[in-house]
């Protein structure tokens, strides 16, 4: 190469071009997103996360949950072809091919996530690998579950609710304490089959960090309409 200024300018260009094209452009598009209402008069979403949930967000980061769990329910456009049994009006059922987003079909979410869902996240945790299920809408699933302690018990020992799970136990987020005059209202109700039970007269109580983490997880809920995406479409 004879003209070295071309080399230097070229090296600068190959860095600046994608930086402008990808980062500046996406920042211009999404850097100032505000909460929005699906229709005029509807409540605006998303809601800012509360203090406890924000602490839980920090716990989620510190525990490295992001290396196994994504928070990006795939959109409706991520369609796959499925054979689905469809019931006709006359009562007969037939198998018909339908296109559906696998995350929605699996019941992980009711709609795909959009950029506006993340505007209050101080650090978006989209993740890159699904060793475990997607957690982008786990709050909606947790709220729908009758067992309100599900998440806490799952954190204490994943084998209780999901035998065979490869999730590490987070027992260090719980303390074992002697039962006082009255059992603590927060104490975990562990099944008899649980091998890691506290000794008799003791109970397992979640620490503040466990409660914050669960508050954060329950807040991961995109069960609302936005201008760009409506449920029940």
């Amino acid at each position: 190469m004879k003209n070295l200024s071309i080399l230097y300018c070229g090296i600068l260009f190959v860095l600046v071009a994608p930086w402008c094209g990808l980062i500046l452009a996406s920042n211009a598009q999404y850097g100032n997103l505000q909460p929005g209402a699906a229709d005029e008069g509807d409540p605006v979403y998303p809601k800012p996360t509360g203090g406890l949930a924000e602490q839980g967000h920090q716990v989620y980061i510190e525990m490295g949950c992001v290396y196994c769990h994504t928070q990006q329910p795939r959109p409706e456009s991520a369609e796959i072809l499925l054979d689905q049994t469809v019931k006709a009006k006359d009562g007969t059922s037939k198998v018909e091919p339908v296109f559906i987003s696998p995350d929605i079909a699996r019941g992980w979410t009711k709609r795909g996530a959009v950029a506006r869902d993340y505007i209050y996240e101080s650090r978006p945790l989209l993740g890159f690998l699904r060793v475990g299920p997607d957690l982008g809408d786990v709050g909606a699933r947790a709220i729908a579950d009758a067992d309100s302690d599900w998440l806490l018990a799952h954190l204490y020992d994943p084998q209780v609710k999901r035998p065979g799970s490869v999730m590490p136990p987070f027992r260090f987020l719980f303390t074992i304490q002697k039962i006082g005059d009255q059992p603590s209202p927060l104490a975990l109700k562990l099944p008899d089959s649980e091998p890691i039970r506290p000794p008799a007269g003791y109970e397992v109580v979640p620490t503040d960090r466990a409660l914050a983490l669960v508050a954060y997880l329950r807040g991961l809920n995109i069960d609302y309409d936005l201008p760009e995406v409506k449920l029940g479409k």
């Binding site: 920042n27 290396y67 699996r106 060793v131 490869v166």
Partner: protein, 493 residues
């Protein structure tokens, strides 16, 4: 003399022009003996540590109760620490050693003021150690590839400038004559890395962008690390070693200009393919896909350049331990280029993205391509720098086969199982727990492959340690002889 002039004279890396060329080359090698050996030694240490951390996280996927009792040892922290030990401990330091030596050799310059390099070496390692300790104690940052806390970054940046400036200085004061393609690649990598690291740190930690823009920056940075930092240096090494050892020019050398510009131009755009179907702008995902597909051009042309040159002299490649590593790496790059282009297309990406397939592709580039080429460079450079032969040829062979078989098994398993898992995940009739249990076999294959890779590294470290100990002994003897303290007639047992 004005101070500027004296500074320029002080750092002027041009060798003594009155000497003959072999003497000059010897001086260049001798001038970098300490820093190159130290960077390689610490790099290998981090590589082994990172592999052991990866091994522990693989064990934890088979048995989640393993080391499960304390938050320091939870899976996410091991995984993050392994990743950063490999990127910043091993990858970056191997790049430093290779880039400085190769640049000095090709520019016919020698690095002066090694004290600066030693200090920068110490602080870089301190920064990595501090960062990894923070990951274990306080937890990672949640941004894969940038898992160390942001306060480590200034220390690393300062050390980086102290190290990389010698490469740029060598290029500036190079001997007259044409510039070889390896020099372009090295210069580009040395200039690009600080900018992308600085931009990513700023846009994520110091002046956080809103919402998913941070994720875009993260994906851009990780892709840049692979294609604009590790890949150019590895290519520089293979472009240097093949003609040097085989004694024949690169086949179609004029094409290397296309490789250089197309790789650099496309590498920066390819990042968004990690985000296909995620909540980022759709046009951005499309740009990432296009970038990845067109990346086939540099990959194809580079593998044409390199693999055809190697194929013209197959015996020479088989007989040279250095070239076996280098050609394995070049072939792995070709595979990674094609697989990456295929997998980034939307209809495939819906199956393979967010599975082990993507991680396998990263490992294909990082270990099977970059790390194997760095091993080749170490096998070539270290004897010249330390002025000694490798003590054991059997250990070199053992290292090659353990690494080659281990990484091939690992990457293949992750590709095949990633496809399988992705297909299962897209079928809502298969319960998620079934998929998790079905990955048990993959986890066991991963465990065995990583253990094999670690064993290979141990063999390499033994060989290197043996050689370095010999060099240190010789150095000590010479020192004693100079002082007149060495008894005449003493010999090594």
């Amino acid at each position: 003399m004005c101070p500027c002039e004296s500074l320029v004279k002080e750092i002027d890396p041009r060798p003594d022009a009155t000497q003959s060329e072999p003497v000059q080359l010897g001086q260049i090698d001798a001038s970098l003996r300490g820093p190159v050996a130290l960077f390689f030694w610490k790099a290998l240490g981090w590589l082994f540590l990172g592999t052991i951390l990866a091994l522990v996280s693989a064990v934890k996927l088979v048995n989640p109760e393993f080391l499960g009792g304390h938050e320091f040892f939870t899976y996410g922290r091991f995984f993050a620490a392994a990743m950063d030990a490999l990127i910043y401990g091993w990858g970056c330091q191997a790049v430093f050693a290779v880039a400085l030596w190769l640049m000095a050799r090709l520019c016919r310059t020698q690095v002066k003021h090694l004290g600066v390099l030693y200090v920068a070496w110490a602080f870089w390692n301190l920064a990595v150690l501090w960062g990894i300790a923070c990951i274990f104690i306080d937890g990672p940052t949640g941004m894969p590839g940038l898992d160390m806390p942001p306060q480590v970054a200034p220390l690393m940046g300062f050390s980086y400038v102290m190290i990389a400036m010698w490469g740029v200085l060598c290029f500036h004061f190079r001997a007259p004559g044409p510039v070889y393609v390896s020099q372009w690649f090295l210069l580009a990598a040395l200039l690009l890395f600080p900018w992308m690291a600085f931009t990513a740190e700023m846009a994520i930690f110091y002046a956080p962008s809103r919402g998913v823009v941070q994720s875009v920056v993260n994906a851009w940075y990780v892709s840049n690390l692979l294609w604009l930092w590790f890949a150019p240096v590895a290519l520089a090494v293979v472009y240097y070693l093949l003609p040097k050892i085989l004694g024949r020019p690169i086949f179609g050398y004029y094409l290397s200009l296309i490789v250089f510009w197309s790789l650099l131009f496309l590498g920066g755009w390819a990042g968004a393919h990690y985000l296909v179907y995620s909540p980022v702008p759709v046009w951005l995902q499309t740009v990432g896909i296009v970038g990845n597909v067109v990346l086939i051009v540099p990959v194809l042309v580079a593998s044409l350049n390199l693999l055809v040159t190697a194929a013209q002299e197959p015996r020479g490649v088989l007989n040279s331990a250095v070239l076996r590593f280098a050609v394995f790496g070049a072939a792995a790059m070709a595979v990674a280029g094609f697989v990456g282009a295929w997998a980034s297309v939307r209809s495939v990406s819906i199956t393979v993205n967010l599975t082990q397939f993507t991680l396998g592709h990263t490992l294909n580039l990082f270990y099977a391509f970059f790390s194997m080429v760095m091993f080749a460079a170490m096998y070539y450079i270290l004897p010249r720098v330390l002025n000694r032969e490798w003590p054991s040829a059997i250990l070199v062979k053992a290292h090659f086969w353990a690494s080659a078989l281990g990484i091939t098994a690992l990457v293949l398993a992750m590709y095949v199982f990633g496809l399988h898992q992705g297909a299962q995940m897209n079928n809502p009739e298969i319960d998620f727990m079934e998929i998790v249990k079905g990955s048990g076999f993959l986890n066991e294959v991963q465990l065995a492959a990583v253990a094999l890779i670690a064993a290979g590294q141990l063999v390499f470290m033994a060989n290197f340690g043996w050689m370095a100990a010999g060099a240190a002994w010789e150095c000590g003897v010479n020192f004693l002889k100079q002082l007149g303290l060495y008894p005449v007639g003493w010999r090594l047992p």
